[in-house]
């Protein structure tokens, strides 16, 4: 409850209506001290503009890159981010938690 993300999804709708490819990335699971709870979302359009937050800044860059792929392919993707660790993840969460982020395209079908 007490969700203040209204404007983000409104922006996604506006972008879609004006012909942009748009993706929505949503935190679906968290473990440990994750910065943003399940349900937090980030919307991305095909020129790389994004609004919202899934991690408070740690992994947004990587999510945007993946979202551009999803916009191009139309296929949803599940991303997982954990503690920053060069061997396991390119980007990570400095807080030590793990999050799973579902990325989907906004489309007609």
């Amino acid at each position: 409850m007490l969700n203040r993300d209204e404007d983000i999804l409104k922006a996604a709708e506006t972008w879609t209506k004006s012909g942009h490819g748009v993706a929505i990335a949503t935190v679906v699971e968290t473990w440990g001290s994750a910065p943003r709870p399940a349900g937090s979302s980030l919307v991305i359009n095909d020129d790389g503009t994004f609004l919202g937050s899934v991690s408070g800044g740690c992994v947004e860059g990587a999510v945007v890159t993946e979202a551009l792929d999803v916009i191009a392919s139309g296929k949803p993707k599940m991303l997982e981010f954990g503690v920053a660790d060069e061997t396991a993840w390119n980007v990570g969460l400095s807080c030590g938690g793990t999050i799973r982020v579902f990325v989907e395209k906004v489309g007609n079908s």
Binding site: M1, L2, N3, V28, G39
Partner: protein, 236 residues
């Protein structure tokens, strides 16, 4: 997400109606469930629990991994009476993320000095309330002790089906209030929805403690199933 699902989601949220989007995270299949349809849904137990807690999360159903994304309107608290308890209650509710409004026609009470950072309406409830469009996601408390102000406000809150309605006053005061409201056409069932004496019984004495007792009771009504019994009431 389909374009029309997104549009429908935004429309429901703009109208302050709760919505849950269920996504199969493997296939991407998705459906939008309006609050009014939850009772008839095969997932109704899970949907109801997640909505009450305002919590999004993963569930497993029939071997499918489903993400329930809960979009509930921001809860509001309407306080009738710019009194001492209200001065403690308003900031407490704001810290719990409620949108808070204070209404009192007595301008000496409803002064910005006494209520910094709170939307304040120095009007009678019949003028101030209708434009607020209070609803199911509103908690409502009447704290003036003055029937001229509290009574019409309570009738409005009952009509709008606020999830919590509380009124200050002892059992005796409340019995008289019930008689007055009944004379104005309120039904026994609706009057039974008014929490009075107001607040959980935590032995509250000071205005701040009474504010805590009230917010505790409001939280219980927001989060617990509708038929869950609350502990005995205080005599505030």
């Amino acid at each position: 997400m389909k374009q029309n699902t997104l549009a429908e989601l935004n429309a429901e949220r703009a109208a302050r109606r709760a919505v849950i989007v269920v996504t199969d995270v493997v296939t991407g299949d998705q459906r939008l469930i309006k609050a009014a349809s939850i009772a008839n849904d095969p997932l109704h137990e899970e949907l109801d629990r997640h909505l009450r807690m305002g919590k999004s999360g993963m569930i497993e159903s029939d071997g499918k991994k489903l993400f329930l994304n809960v979009y509930a309107p921001t809860a509001r608290l309407v306080i009738i009476g710019a009194v001492h308890i209200s001065q403690a209650l308003a900031p407490l509710a704001q810290s719990l993320d409620y949108d808070v409004y204070v209404i009192d026609p007595r301008t000496a009470f409803a002064s910005p000095e006494r209520f910094p950072d709170v939307p304040l309406f120095a009007d009678w409830p019949d003028v101030a309330l209708p434009p607020l469009n209070i609803d199911r996601y509103t908690a409502f408390v009447a704290l003036t002790h003055d029937p001229k102000i509290d009574d019409p406000a309570l009738l409005h809150a009952l009509e709008r089906d606020c999830f919590y309605i509380g009124a200050l006053g002892s059992r005796k005061t409340h019995a008289k209030r019930v008689d007055r409201l009944k004379a104005q056409g309120a039904s026994d069932d609706s009057l039974a929805r008014i929490h009075a004496p107001i607040g959980l019984n935590i032995g509250a004495v000071s205005p701040s403690e009474i504010a805590v007792a009230i917010m505790a009771e409001i939280t219980a009504r927001l989060r617990l199933p509708a038929d869950a019994p609350l502990k005995t009431k205080s005599a505030a």
